[in-house]
Amino acid sequence: MNKERFVMFVNRIPLNLAIIVLCAIWLLPTLGLFITSFRPQQAVNESGWWMALAATRPGTDEYQTYCGQCHGENYNALPNADLSSPDLIAQYRRSIQLSGTFNREYNGVIHIPEDQHPDAQQTADILDHLRIASGLQESPPRFTFANYKDVLVGYSARGGTYDEVCAADGPSGTRTCDFWTDATAPNAVLRGMINSFIVTVPATFLPIILAGFAAYALSWMDFNGRRVMFAALVGLQIVPLQMVLVPIFRMYTDLGLNGTFLGVWLFHTGFGLPYAIYLIRNFVGRLPADLFESAYLDGANHFTVFRRIVLPLALPAIAALAIFQFLWVWNDLLVALIFLGNNAPVLTYQLSQLVDSLGGGWHRMTAAAFISIAVPLLIFFAFQRFFVRGLLAGSVKG
């Protein structure tokens, strides 16, 4: 590196630093979610996700705080109560048995004074810690897929994973312990994902098809009031979604459409149309006129031209639009909340419910959240260009 380039490099350090810091700030929250979703429950309670790679054992801190001063760092400071001995620890299978010793008297002294008892969760962690220290139990894995499996089947009870509980207790209540049966039950996230697709796919293509026909007429057919029609249709973009919820909710109640997929498809179609017409019209209107001329001279009718020429050529615009609309519907909570709700919970709805109930702990909630954002992220990274384009053109969408 010669001197000049070195000076350049040094001069650019603040710039690079600023960008890297900003990018880190933007990335960290999502990264935290991602990492947490793969950590076992104990690890999540034990340490922050940024410590995921540091070696920790459940209950280390708790042991130090509550037991360490008497039993010692190596568990064997008291000869009559060597906590590193597997024979001794094996007597304590459940944490309740361990906490039973706290009020006992040893040599005339209360084992642990009442106000210094660890709580139930801490005692459980300490027992795990001792079982691992004495070699009765393996340390838990650092990362696991169990959270994903739990949420996919909608298992949210405390303590133990779906697999563990099924192995230990078998089916009970609504839990059949058959993966596919459980995963398609109403509150299972896999079911939510299926519902999300059922909502999203038609709600993406319906408006595009309707808009395609309308846009073709608006750009290549001759009739009175064409401009006014275009302005009116596209102008409806102004209307915010909130503005129509009340009447449509009432209309759906009368028609029995509340809680049906059809109702949601049509609603999204209505709200996707103005922007779709605008975008496709702009694109199709710019196609060269000779194209149409020669096709008409060859005797093609409008429908043939539409199908054979316009649709294939408008594909880039349609792709951008499809991606935009897909993400919009997939990520929507408001419409799903009001018109589907509990009847067919989609992913976003399930997530909002999980937040309210704290959905069986952070390890599972992060997994559920990641499932819901995985699809948009995949689409985003696969079709970044189309996506950005659709979004820029759509910056005026309602």
Partner: protein, 301 residues
């Protein structure tokens, strides 16, 4: 609209092509929008004027009673105040960060990567984003990274989302900025790229330093785009629903969430409609300005 009519079509053909779109739009957008306007002057089931909702020995605005309750009611005032806070923070916030990032990333080779990272939250649902940030704000310094940082720096960990209003709303706007900056950055970066290199080179040759370059040359040229960005963000912010809904805190309601609560939880159609109308009355002027601008730019191309 330039078109070349080389083929005759029947009188009804264009309407046939447009009919499905028109029917859906009328049923789902045009007609209900008008209905909402009417509902906002009526009682909850639309059977009588809103005046019947007036309570005795209380102020009453007759058929405008829903609006009085929206403006004078405690819930309504909180929603209006919070919407104002959102606007005041989000609009300049996203514009500033977007501008900063557009200008900075323009100068490095890993521009595409940096932009993808900043833009990524746009792809995520607001609900997903809300969960991500609940996690960041978690009161336990062993779970929430914000408290972990605060305690590492010697501070006290706090239950951030339980901050007294309006502090909690400010914390929510951070999420909004995190999401929307990718959008403003992309718009501004596109505008930045369209500034001819010669202008910038010429200024450099004349001895302008980078700061002067930015304030004297780039900023004036970017001004129209900044205006579009800010108006668009105003609309987006006014419609903001999901984040606030999912992060529900003490007195964090904005107009959009207040409206849905009235509709969905309390079945208060009239009041909900009044909120909807307030929202659109705020949105329309901004949209009209925006579309005009858009039209001007299209014409200039």
């Amino acid at each position: 609209m330039r078109t070349l009519m080389v083929m005759r079509q029947g009188r009804w053909t264009p309407w046939l092509y447009m009919a499905p779109a028109i029917i859906v739009l009328v049923i789902y957008v045009a007609y209900p929008a008008i209905r909402t306007g009417l509902y906002s002057f009526q009682n909850n089931d639309g059977t009588a004027s809103a005046a019947v909702r007036c309570a005795a020995d209380q102020p009453c605005w007759g058929f405008l009673e829903n609006y009085r309750q929206a403006f004078a009611g405690q819930q309504g005032q909180i929603a209006l105040r919070n919407t104002a806070i959102w606007l005041l923070v989000m609009v300049p916030g996203t514009a500033l960060f977007g501008l900063l990032l557009a200008v900075l990333t323009d100068r490095v080779r890993y521009e595409a990567l940096a932009k993808a990272i900043i833009f990524m939250p746009m792809a995520i649902s607001f609900v997903g984003a809300a969960i991500i940030w609940r996690f960041v704000y978690n009161p336990d310094p062993g779970i929430g990274i914000l408290n972990a940082l605060v305690t590492a720096l010697g501070g006290e960990s706090r239950a951030w989302l339980a901050t007294d209003p309006p502090g909690n709303t400010l914390l929510l706007t951070v999420i909004g900025i995190w999401i929307w900056t990718g959008f403003t950055m992309t718009l501004l970066a596109a505008a930045l790229k369209s500034i001819p290199m010669e202008i910038i080179e010429a200024a450099r040759v004349d001895g302008a330093n980078e700061l002067q370059l930015f304030f004297r040359i780039m900023l004036p040229l970017l001004a129209p785009t900044i205006a579009v960005v800010m108006t668009t963000m105003t609309i987006n912010t006014l419609k903001m629903f999901d984040i606030v809904w999912v992060m529900k805190g003490i007195q964090t309601d904005v107009i959009a969430t207040r409206m849905v609560s009235e509709l969905y939880l309390d079945r208060n159609n009239g009041l909900a409609s009044a909120y909807a109308i307030i929202l659109i009355v705020l949105i329309i002027p901004v949209t009209v300005y925006n579309i005009r601008r858009f039209g001007v730019e299209e014409a200039e191309k």
